[in-house]
């Protein structure tokens, strides 16, 4: 019987790390996110449960419609993030930006929670920027051949996982070095049967302002 040894080893290592994460997350300090630990394979966050599971009473207070932006993601048809404000609590309430595919929630400690629930990411870049994350959201392109210099070595300071819901990424805008951008790649394979549920978030830092990101620079593989 053929055994994919490399895969077996890598998955085993990842699962062991996840087991350790679970042990840590079971008794988290309130408000303290689980550290994000980059691995040899890019740590993937995902997609998952819908917003309904986490949203309690919320009221619509505004609608954001991104306008002027010449970046690649802004050229696509825009989904309209809906801004909602939690009705509970005495402290200033954060405004949540959400579409069917993502939810961006600024937290009172300056961090920003991001949950992905689908593959339609148009408007995500603007939503992130509106809450202070210098994001550059892109879909890798096979026709793009200009390499982009990225840096994943400091991701542990920029991103962590919500200890209460591992599907939520917590971004730390203040940890993004001045002049750098948070490059957020939608690496869901083209033609995936269920792009909303198998899409992946690939995050790195870059000092550049690329107009596209080469597919060849990712480790995206074939269609499942």
């Amino acid at each position: 019987m053929s055994t994919p040894l490399n895969f077996q080893q890598q998955l085993g290592a990842e699962l062991t790390a996840r087991a350790a994460d679970l042990a840590t997350a079971e008794r988290p300090t309130p408000g303290t996110p689980v550290p994000f630990r980059p691995r040899p394979t890019r740590r993937l966050l995902t997609t998952g449960l819908g917003l309904a599971a986490t949203v309690t009473a919320a009221v619509t207070v505004a609608v954001l419609v991104p306008q002027a932006d010449t970046s690649p993601s802004a050229q696509a048809p825009q989904a309209v993030p809906t801004a909602t404000r939690s009705a509970a609590g005495d402290a200033p309430t954060p405004v949540r930006l959400s579409t069917a595919s993502y939810t961006v929630t600024p937290n009172q400690d300056g961090t920003v929670s991001v949950q992905l629930t689908g593959a339609e990411w148009s408007g995500l870049q603007e939503a992130l920027r509106s809450v202070g994350v210098p994001a550059l959201v892109m879909k890798p392109s096979a026709s793009c051949h200009t390499p982009v210099t990225t840096d994943s070595s400091r991701l542990d300071a920029v991103m962590s996982l919500d200890p209460r819901n591992g599907r939520i990424a917590i971004l730390h805008p203040a940890a993004v070095p001045p002049g750098e951008r948070l490059l957020v790649l939608n690496t869901a394979p083209e033609g995936a049967l269920h792009p909303g549920t198998v899409s992946a978030l690939d995050i790195s830092l870059t000092k550049e302002t690329p107009t596209c990101f080469p597919l060849s620079q990712t480790n995206v593989v074939g269609v499942g």
């Binding site: 490399n6 998955l11 699962l15 992946a200």
Partner: protein
Amino acid sequence: MSAEQQTAPPSRDPAAFAVFYRQQFDTVLGFVTRRTDSPHLAADLTADVFLTALEQADGYDPRRGTPAAWLYGIARNVVASHFRGNARELHATARIAGRRMLDDQDVSAIEDRIDAARDARALAARHAALSEPLRAVLDLVAVDGLTVRDAAKALGINAATARVRLHRARNELRKAAPQTGTDYESVNTLLEVAP
């Protein structure tokens, strides 16, 4: 791997889960390659199954079946959920993209398994017309080779119920297709020998 084989129980303890994973890797990869002809999807689903198993490890009750039977139940749910279109919305903490861990040799090795499991996938495809309760038992017995008892444990039903469903599945397949095809005969043979 037989469901009867003694295995380490699932545990959230990293070291213990690593043992469980090593023992059950072939079981899970075999399960998924009997249901998909895509090595990349097989890798994703394998990762999903183990991640779900890790998250649910605390819920394992040895009185309700072997670790393998328990894992078959998870694998079935994960794969069924995927093909229903709501994959990865189970309770996995954060998905692992298994496909990204594959190198060329891994892909080749999984393709070998996929090729070897061609007949099993053909069997599973024949079961598509059955209702889900009947198909679930039949798949685990005829496609995965579990005993009726282990299939019952994987599905959380008693063995008598599993036997009844297996019998009904067999009758429905007989009605659905003439007994002239090789595929049907192989299905029938598997059902005949299923304990």
